[in-house]
């Protein structure tokens, strides 16, 4: 398939992820939307690296994957520890760090 189809899918995926980050109020869903944004970025990297015939884009997409793993581990640990203190993970009502 021509490369611009992949870039359009990646743009749409990033837009959906951004909408999720802005509109949802459950912290878990916001983290999932961030994962969608990272996947969209990886898709664009892989599509461009195919178009350029350069495999370095694959390596950067690999690093993005490792970064997503680290982000998910830390983010979910923060969500769990906020839930332990507040018994809720509603981003609209969590507005203080002190319990």
């Amino acid at each position: 398939m021509p490369g611009h189809f992949y870039i359009l899918v990646s743009l749409a995926l990033f837009f959906i992820g951004t909408t999720g980050v802005l509109m949802r109020r459950n912290a878990l869903f916001v983290l999932m939307s961030v994962e969608l944004q990272l996947a969209a970025g990886s898709l664009a990297l892989v599509a461009f690296s195919r178009g350029l015939g350069d495999q370095r884009g694959h390596v950067v997409a690999f690093f993005v994957m490792a970064l997503a793993a680290a982000e998910a581990a830390i983010g979910l640990a923060i969500v769990v520890s906020i839930y332990r203190v507040n018994r809720k993970i509603d981003l609209a009502t969590i507005d203080e760090l002190r319990n």
Binding site: H4, F15, I16, M23, L28, S33, R56, F63, A66, L76
Partner: protein, 187 residues
């Protein structure tokens, strides 16, 4: 670089459109679902479909990693977090500041619309045109990516392993129950 542009076969077209519909539909279900478990299943489907898209771009190593790391490891982490938190919400959409958020979504939507327009206009350029055969025979397989990782990208590779170690330690420290957090020095 002279990239051969050939018309995609019918099978390629079907595979691309099915996988792209899976990615976008799964993403839409993910951000609209009320229950976190349903959203997670949709997210796993999204990542599997995007692994298929990687495979059609002859990024085989990344396609396997996408299923193993994203749809496997990261999603298991999410499932454990959902099991611990298990919080059903009444109003999934944030109502406070809804006007500002909607304006933000519309502005970003316009930005993406303009970018998509630009991509479509430049679709005949060298970078975006189709390449029917992969540029080199072992494009995107484990040997080629591994060779690149351990030669040009050795320092970033080691740095990212340090980052993962820091994330593991930080996750353990953050997710421990509060009563055991302060008596670590007594051991």
């Amino acid at each position: 670089m002279n990239l051969a542009t050939a018309a995609p076969t019918v099978l390629e077209k079907i595979a691309f459109f099915v996988l792209a519909a899976g990615v976008l539909g799964g993403a839409l279900v993910t951000i609209t679902r009320k229950s976190a478990v349903g959203a997670l299943i949709a997210l796993i489907a999204t990542f599997c479909a995007s692994a298929g898209l990687y495979a059609t771009l002859s990024a085989h190593f990344l396609a396997v990693l996408q299923v193993l790391v994203y749809a496997g490891a990261i999603m298991v982490l999410f499932i454990f977090a959902v099991m611990i938190v298990s919080h059903d919400e009444e109003h999934p959409i944030a109502l406070r500041g809804l006007f500002v958020r909607t304006a933000g979504v519309l502005a970003i939507g316009y930005l993406f619309y303009r970018t998509a327009w630009l991509v479509v206009r430049e679709r005949t350029s060298d970078v975006l045109a189709a390449t029917a055969p992969p540029p080199i025979p072992d494009f995107g397989n484990v040997a080629a990516i591994g060779r690149l990782l351990f030669s040009d990208f050795l320092f970033p590779f080691e740095a990212i392993s340090l980052l993962l170690l820091a994330a593991v330690v930080g996750g353990v420290v953050l997710a421990r129950p509060p009563q055991t957090r302060n008596d670590g020095g007594a051991v």
